[in-house]
């Protein structure tokens, strides 16, 4: 079997068994990127020298008998993670010249685990988008159908792994930015509990919602990589100081007797019927595994999209103030005075969607509107939290679709932000409540992947991964590769 068709876990085992070196693997993937990236536009920056250097070090580690599960395994990082000495753009013209002087904690930890950095993946500008069409570096194409979007904002990471240009990739998820692209490209993507993965060095979009995570080929790969990137970081005050359980080791724990909650609100009008059917088939498999299915209602959940589109823009309007043309990043030519420096640097450096959200956020925080928007949104957020809390008193995990439809065509929704925002209707709730959530492929609709979402209580990543892993032992949707990239 070709190297690129192996999962990260298999590759790690192969390296340690001496079947191939990390150097060979790395060259194989660099070669695939070289041939495929032009079509997909999945990478903003490819770092061959760094990759080969990482690979040499990994091979030495393995030779010394000190290799771990991920030693020598290539990985791609979403370009939202700061990488020391490497261009870090966040998909924006604003940072098109920004070479980060430091590594994000996630990058540091995955390097310490022995992974090999292939490059930095394309993304919606500042992670604001659900189709990867807001990137300054142009849209990413879906390997399953290159006329379609890969989802967003981690669209580059999704396309890279789906096309096997990289065995695994990091992503971030503020309202669905890992799970929705994973669903649209046939991958397993996990966003852990808020606070599980350090946000240090992850360029902030909406600080109370952002979490780093993984886009992978399987629950097993997701578990391995998540385990390596998780854990307390004193540099992030919202990082949680509890030990990281061995996610990979817990994959096989029995799921029989678990109770799965089916969220009634996730099967309403907006759901594409074929996608709904695929999810129903998956539910039957769970039943066959001895899992009890319970239908339940989370009445506040339908309010998650409007809530999110108050909270996230509010935080982003403040988070993005540092991009002012003064210390780093884009600066306009020949500013006349300070105001001109600010308005043109920001006006020229940010794209339309980012500006829309900054303006929305500024508005909802303004004197006289704060109570009506920001404060009210926070109250609704508490209600949504409360809904989840009650649900998890009854069931072990919640299951539903990840995205209402399979991948849509490039350009289909760019002029209609509200329709675009509704793409995240099933994913946003987990961000508002800070819950771990995963998307796993559960079928193909007219040749396009659709995803099944599994949401767990806080810090129940192991359970979520075990449910997905049990499903993946019964199915092979996660092993499907788009024909053109096999």
């Amino acid at each position: 079997m070709s190297l690129h068709l192996k999962t990260a876990a298999e590759l790690g085992r192969g390296i340690r068994a001496g079947e191939y070196s990390s150097g060979e693997l790395t060259r194989h993937f660099l070669d695939r990127i070289g041939r495929g990236n032009e079509r997909l536009n999945a990478f903003i920056t490819v770092t061959p020298e760094r990759a080969l250097e990482d690979a040499r070090r990994a091979d030495a580690t393995v030779a010394a008998g000190r290799g771990g599960a991920l030693t020598g395994v290539p990985i791609a990082h979403k370009d939202i993670f700061c990488t020391d000495g490497i261009l870090t753009t966040c998909g924006s013209k604003m940072l098109a010249n920004f070479v980060s002087p430091y590594d994000a904690t996630v990058v540091e930890r995955l390097a310490a685990a022995g992974t090999v950095m292939l490059g930095k993946t394309n993304m919606d500008e500042f992670a604001m988008g659900s189709s990867n069409e807001t990137s300054f570096y142009g849209p990413v194409r879906n390997p399953w159908d290159e006329t379609r979007v890969p989802g967003g904002s981690s669209g580059g990471s999704a396309a890279a792994v789906a096309a096997r240009l990289a065995p695994v990739a990091t992503g971030t998820d503020t309202g669905g930015s890992i799970r929705q692209p994973a669903a649209l490209t046939g991958l397993t993507g996990i966003k852990p509990t808020y606070g599980r993965v350090s946000r240090y060095g992850m360029i902030a979009f909406a600080s109370s919602l952002d979490q780093g995570g993984v886009l992978a080929q399987s629950a097993e790969d997701a578990a391995l990589v998540l385990e390596a990137m998780s854990g307390f970081d004193p540099r992030d005050s919202t990082s949680v100081d509890t030990p990281v359980p061995g996610y990979a080791g817990a994959l096989d724990r029995p799921v029989k007797g678990l109770r799965i909650g089916i969220i009634r609100e996730f099967f309403g009008d907006g759901l594409d019927p074929a996608t709904g059917d695929a999810v129903q088939v998956a539910l039957d498999i769970f039943r066959d595994l001895g899992i009890e299915l319970v239908e339940l209602s989370l009445p506040a959940l339908p309010l998650s999209v409007p809530t999110y589109y108050v909270v996230a823009p509010a935080e982003c309007s403040s988070n993005l103030s540092r991009f002012d043309g003064v210390r780093f990043g884009y600066r306009c030519d020949d500013p006349k005075d300070l105001l001109d420096l600010y308005t043109r640097s920001r006006g020229e450096g940010f794209g339309a969607e980012v500006k829309r959200r900054i303006m929305t956020g500024t508005y909802v925080l303004s004197a006289g509107y704060y109570d009506a928007y920001y404060l009210k949104a926070q109250k609704v957020r508490s209600l949504i939290n409360e809904d989840f809390r009650r649900a998890f008193a009854e069931v072990d995990v919640l299951v539903g679709p990840t995205s209402p439809t399979p991948a849509f065509r490039l350009g289909a929704k760019v002029d209609d932000p509200v329709t675009m925002y509704l793409n995240d209707i099933y994913t946003i709730g987990a961000n508002l409540a800070g819950l771990p959530a995963l998307s796993a492929p559960c079928g193909l609709v007219e040749g396009l992947p659709v995803g099944l979402q599994v949401i767990g209580p806080h810090f129940a990543e192991s359970r979520v991964l075990a449910v997905a892993h049990a499903y993946q032992r019964e199915t092979d949707w996660h092993r499907r590769v788009p024909r053109a990239w096999a």
Binding site: Y200, S237, R327
Partner: protein
């Protein structure tokens, strides 16, 4: 009849907390480094960096809160104050807004005439300082120094309880004393470690509602506060008496021209769009921790002053002066201990001659050229009548310039007091003989000439005659 105006003043004091590192980053807070060398990626607001709260800054804020009898909040929240300025790297300042760490305390001030007054402290909250914009020596360009960015500040907001510039100064001095007692701020006003903005309004005496206020920025010395407030009060009264009305605005005090001028009006004011900072969890303080901080409080100025009144029999005013700084109080107490009593004498010398020398040479009590032990040595010679108080002043002057003890100076200069009655009588007799006219006048009722004879005796003895004895002997001998 002219209207009587009442002045209403509230102060916002920014005290820079003397932590070693910044409030949200590990950079040093030392003053005076070359621009931007004490600014790390967090201070520079780089993409992806996050703030981590400095626990020492919190402890200092709690110390202050407990020292003013305030409520130290079990839960307080950091908020972002959003505005754009080049010396504000993130485009927002991390501060506290709705839920500050310290709320509802008070301090007592004592005015020159002994009046005591309680001034309410509405709140004190933690926040980060901004950097500095530099305009000099850069031609048409502006520079930014972010060394100060992220330095911890405690913003102390008073109630509008002050009714004159003098009260405002007394309050400001009290807070200044307090933060230095607590070791939470060095109080250095030249370096900007202790800054003040004043909210000033006037109203007809007897009215309850406040007049429209102006905020005066940059009143950063005790002298400027008085001048700036008095100037602002006069300006407001002028406008009101001329039939005008006050515009709510922020005004900047210019000490060179002794005037305030408008910076921005209420309409031009920023909408800061405060909201809780999602990068920082709410600050939760355990009751046990608060109690531990309370148990670590030093003796505070008021307690110390009361103790000085009680133990040393000082007046309230003297006790207040001597406890104005912890170092001065320590010097005073060391002097009294060394001397073994004579607390009032020690108080007079510390507040009088010694302070005079310190002021003249621009020295702080901690760098006094005559230490407490040497001062006590000098005072001991007054107590045992070796020298007079007047001679002691000269001895102190010598001691100030030469590193010698009082006894050595007295011996070397032959300043030992003449207490031999016979010797003094002989001098008096000589003077009476040399001044027959004055003697005759005195005897015919010109009592004022008594002083003349005292002066002559002191002059003849080089000031060394014991003044008490001189008095007694003159009273006996002059009448004849």
């Amino acid at each position: 009849m002219a209207i009587e105006w009442e002045v209403v003043i509230g102060l916002e004091i920014h005290a820079q907390l003397s932590t070693r590192s910044k409030i949200f980053s590990g950079s040093s807070t030392a003053f005076g480094a070359s621009p931007n060398v004490q600014a790390n990626l967090v201070d520079l607001g780089y993409p992806g960096v996050l703030p981590v709260l400095n626990a020492e800054a919190v402890r200092m804020a709690a110390r202050f809160g407990l020292a003013i009898g305030a409520k130290v909040a079990r839960r307080s929240v950091f908020a972002r104050k959003n505005y754009f300025y080049p010396d504000l790297p993130k485009g927002y300042q991390i501060s506290q807004y709705e839920l500050p760490v310290v709320e509802d305390g008070s301090v007592d001030i004592v005015l020159d005439d002994g009046t005591r007054k309680t001034i309410g402290v509405t709140r004190a909250h933690l926040e980060e300082d901004a950097g500095k914009s530099l305009h000099e020596g850069l031609g048409a360009r502006s520079g930014i120094d972010l060394n100060r960015a992220g330095t911890p500040l405690l913003e102390i907001v008073s109630e509008p309880d002050m009714r004159s510039a003098r009260e405002a100064i007394a309050y400001m001095k009290k807070i200044h004393t307090l933060v230095r007692y607590l070791d939470i701020c060095d109080g250095n006003m030249q370096e900007g470690s202790f800054r003040c903005d004043a909210n000033v309004s006037v109203r007809h005496k007897g009215r309850h509602e406040y007049g429209t206020r102006c905020e005066i920025k940059n009143v950063n010395s005790f002298r400027f506060v008085e001048k700036a407030i008095n100037h602002e009060v006069a300006r407001q009264i002028d406008i009101l008496e001329g039939g005008g009305s006050i515009v709510q605005e922020t005004r900047l005090y210019d000490p060179d021209r002794n005037e305030t001028r408008s910076m921005r009006s209420k309409e031009e004011a920023n909408d800061y769009r405060y909201f809780p900072d999602p990068d920082l969890l709410p600050l939760v303080l355990e009751e046990a921790w608060i109690e531990r901080v309370r148990s670590e409080l030093p003796e505070l100025p008021d307690e110390k002053a009361w103790r000085f009144v009680r133990e040393y029999g000082l007046s309230e005013y003297d006790a207040g002066v001597l406890t104005a700084s912890r170092e001065l109080a320590a010097y005073y107490e060391a002097t009294v201990t060394e001397l073994g009593g004579e607390a009032k004498l020690a108080a007079n010398w510390v507040m009088g001659d010694l302070s005079g020398f310190l002021n003249r040479d621009g020295l702080d009590i901690t760098s006094s050229r005559v230490g407490a032990a040497r001062l006590a040595g000098l005072l001991r010679r007054i107590v045992d009548a070796t020298i007079s108080g007047k001679i002691a002043k000269d001895v102190l002057e010598v001691m100030w310039n030469e590193d010698r003890g009082a006894d050595a100076v007295i011996e070397a200069r032959g300043l030992r007091q003449i207490t031999d009655t016979a010797a003094i009588e002989q001098v008096i007799a000589g003077i009476m003989a040399a001044n027959p006219q004055q003697l005759a006048d005195y005897r015919s009722g010109k009592d004022k000439l008594f002083g003349f004879f005292v002066g002559q005796v002191m002059k003849a003895t080089g000031g060394k005659a014991n003044p008490g004895q001189v008095n007694d002997l003159l009273k006996k001998m002059l009448p004849g």
